[in-house]
């Protein structure tokens, strides 16, 4: 019973003063949280802007992608390069926002907020690279574009996660590209893309799910894209036997064949 009385004592004294004290401490927590939220918002806005710009690059590339070797194609690629340069300028803003001079830890604290934009950028630049060189861009090559003039001034770090997720999205673009290519009578490109995407998928299949959780959903999408490409190849193969030596007829058939695919909305 003695303890009951003993414990009663602090209530009377500590009551009001404790609340005043708490108001002070929580005012400072509020300021801190507000600053953090504002910075997060600014980064999310930048990320969205980068996503939009990257989507524009991809749409732009699709428009003229099927005519390699023509002046129109070269001009298209050139314009895309200029657009990419503009995006890199946005990344300079991101870099300034991520790097707090007073806080050495700030970069990794906030970088997740930029990931959606960065992934979209990787998708667009890897598609551009593929159209130019018919090769898969490396993580290092992307890293090299995200640098300032100086030799060692990385704007944003491209992590393996970002790279893999961005490349996973690239397979969807390649499917669209293969479909469009076939519609112009180019039977070779779909075959090539088929092997290319299949190889990428095989690599990604080897990544354990717990290493990169977001990948498994994207792999389903990649599988669907690959199956569409394979169907295109299958149909071309059958036609090439039926109309052997009559490429012009084949091209016409293909054009008709892909109309079903083309009507699908492009989701990037």
């Amino acid at each position: 019973m003695a303890d009951v009385i003993m414990e009663a004592a602090p209530i009377a004294e500590a009551g009001p003063s404790r609340r005043d004290q708490l108001v002070d401490t929580f005012t400072s927590y509020r300021q801190q949280l507000d600053l953090e939220n504002e910075r997060r918002e600014r980064l999310i806005i930048l990320s969205r802007s980068i996503t939009q710009q990257s989507k524009k690059v991809i749409f732009h590339l699709h428009r003229c992608a099927t005519l390699p070797g023509t002046p129109a194609f070269d001009k298209n690629i050139q314009t895309a390069r200029t657009m990419v340069q503009k995006i890199v300028e946005s990344f300079a803003q991101v870099s300034a926002e991520l790097r707090d001079t007073s806080d050495a830890e700030s970069y990794w604290r906030w970088y997740r907020n930029i990931s959606p934009g960065l992934e979209e950028f990787i998708e667009s630049i890897s598609f551009l690279h593929y159209l130019e060189h018919r090769q898969l861009i490396t993580c290092q090559e992307i890293q090299n574009t995200l640098k300032e003039e100086g030799p060692d001034d990385t704007l944003v770090v491209v992590t393996p996660d970002d790279f893999i997720l961005g490349i996973s999205d690239l397979t969807g673009e390649l499917m669209r590209f293969a479909t469009n290519a076939l519609s112009t009578g180019d039977a070779e490109t779909p075959q090539e893309i088929c092997a290319f995407v299949r190889n990428i998928k095989t690599y990604f299949d080897g990544i354990p799910t717990h290493h990169l959780r977001q990948l498994s959903k994207k792999q389903e999408e990649t599988t669907r894209s690959l199956m569409k490409i394979e169907k295109l190849c299958y149909e071309t193969q059958l036609r090439s036997i039926e109309y052997d030596g009559r490429r012009d007829v084949l091209a016409q058939m293909s054009r008709r064949d892909v109309e079903g695919y083309r009507d699908q909305p492009i989701e990037v």
């Binding site: 019973m1 003695a2 303890d3 009951v4 009385i5 414990e7 009663a8 602090p10 209530i11 500590a14 009551g15 404790r18 609340r19 004290q21 708490l22 108001v23 401490t25 929580f26 005012t27 927590y29 509020r30 801190q32 949280l33 507000d34 953090e36 939220n37 806080d103 050495a104 830890e105 700030s106 970069y107 990794w108 604290r109 970088y111 018919r134 090769q135 898969l136 861009i137 490396t138 993580c139 290092q140 992590t159 393996p160 790279f163 893999i164 490349i167 039977a187 070779e188 075959q191 090539e192 092997a195 290319f196 190889n199 990428i200 690599y203 990604f204 990544i207 290493h211 990169l212 090439s240």
Partner: protein, 269 residues
């Protein structure tokens, strides 16, 4: 890789249209790009695993501290402070262990790997805040908790207790208090529910000052009002029966505990 180059001798299942050599170089670009990136992904995984392993002794202490503090429900009020102190002493043992974690993390990359540290930091914050409430009847501020744990409060080399982790941890402590309030009544301790209700009320008012966005902290904050209600319900039950030591005459409170309480309801409610 060299075998595909001779297109003349290809078997019939090879794709007839494309040139083999070119195809090989293009495919090898995939090997080059993905081989290296998957290797670095694996390296990162190993680092994450090492960090998780370095956290294990800290998590052990955290669990032991939690079970020590849990005894508070089953002992008499007099021993509450002793249990809380024992919990704090136990938690202090984590102080030297953080270096095992922070040496693994590359400089400036704490937040890249903080996902492995955050949950434990929040649990430890919860325990410290709980124990300090029992001992001092106060809310331990962030720097106090950081000092108890032996971590940094803001950016510096080493493990950092962020405002967000701290604020979530404190709510974790508040979530435990309604249960303590109920069990205190069972044990015949009618003062502790008052202390708890007043504390939860103050903390709730404090959190209401924050501009929260839709995230975990916001959801946890939403849980506070239920805790507050539960704590106030206990006070109501006590008051209804004339057991509230504050509303009734303090000297009469112990008496009403043993005698039939219903006679007092009219005056105290």
């Amino acid at each position: 890789m060299a075998t595909g180059a001779q297109s003349g001798g290809l078997p019939s299942d090879a794709v007839p249209i494309s040139s083999g050599t070119l195809r090989e170089t293009r495919l090898s670009s995939v090997d080059r790009a993905l081989g290296s990136v998957i290797a670095s992904l694996e390296k990162e995984q190993e680092l994450k695993k090492a960090i998780r392993e370095a956290m294990e002794p800290i998590e052990d202490i955290s669990r032991r501290a939690a079970s020590t503090l849990n005894d508070i429900h089953s002992v008499h009020g007099m021993d509450h402070r002793a249990i809380a102190q024992r919990t704090l002493d136990l938690i202090e043992q984590v102080r030297p262990l953080w270096t095992g974690v922070s040496t693994l993390i590359p400089a400036g990359e704490f937040y890249r790997y903080s996902f492995a540290v955050g949950p434990t930091l929040r649990t430890l914050t919860q325990l410290v805040a709980y124990a300090i409430f029992i001992i001092q009847d106060a809310l331990a501020p962030s720097h106090d908790v950081a000092r108890h744990l032996g971590v940094q409060e803001d950016s510096a080399d080493g493990v950092i207790l962020t405002a967000d982790d701290y604020l979530q941890g404190v709510i974790g402590a508040i979530n435990e208090l309604p249960r303590l309030s109920v069990n205190a009544v069972t044990a015949g301790n009618y003062h502790l529910p008052l202390r708890i209700a007043s504390f939860v009320n103050d903390v709730f008012a404090s959190y209401s000052q924050l501009n929260l966005r839709n995230d975990v902290l916001r959801r946890k904050f939403d849980s506070l009002k239920y805790d507050l209600k539960k704590c106030e319900d206990v006070i109501y039950d006590l008051t209804l029966r004339g057991l509230n030591p504050r509303s009734a005459d303090v000297s009469s409170a112990p008496v009403s505990r043993t005698s039939a309480p219903l006679g007092n309801t009219g005056s105290s409610a």
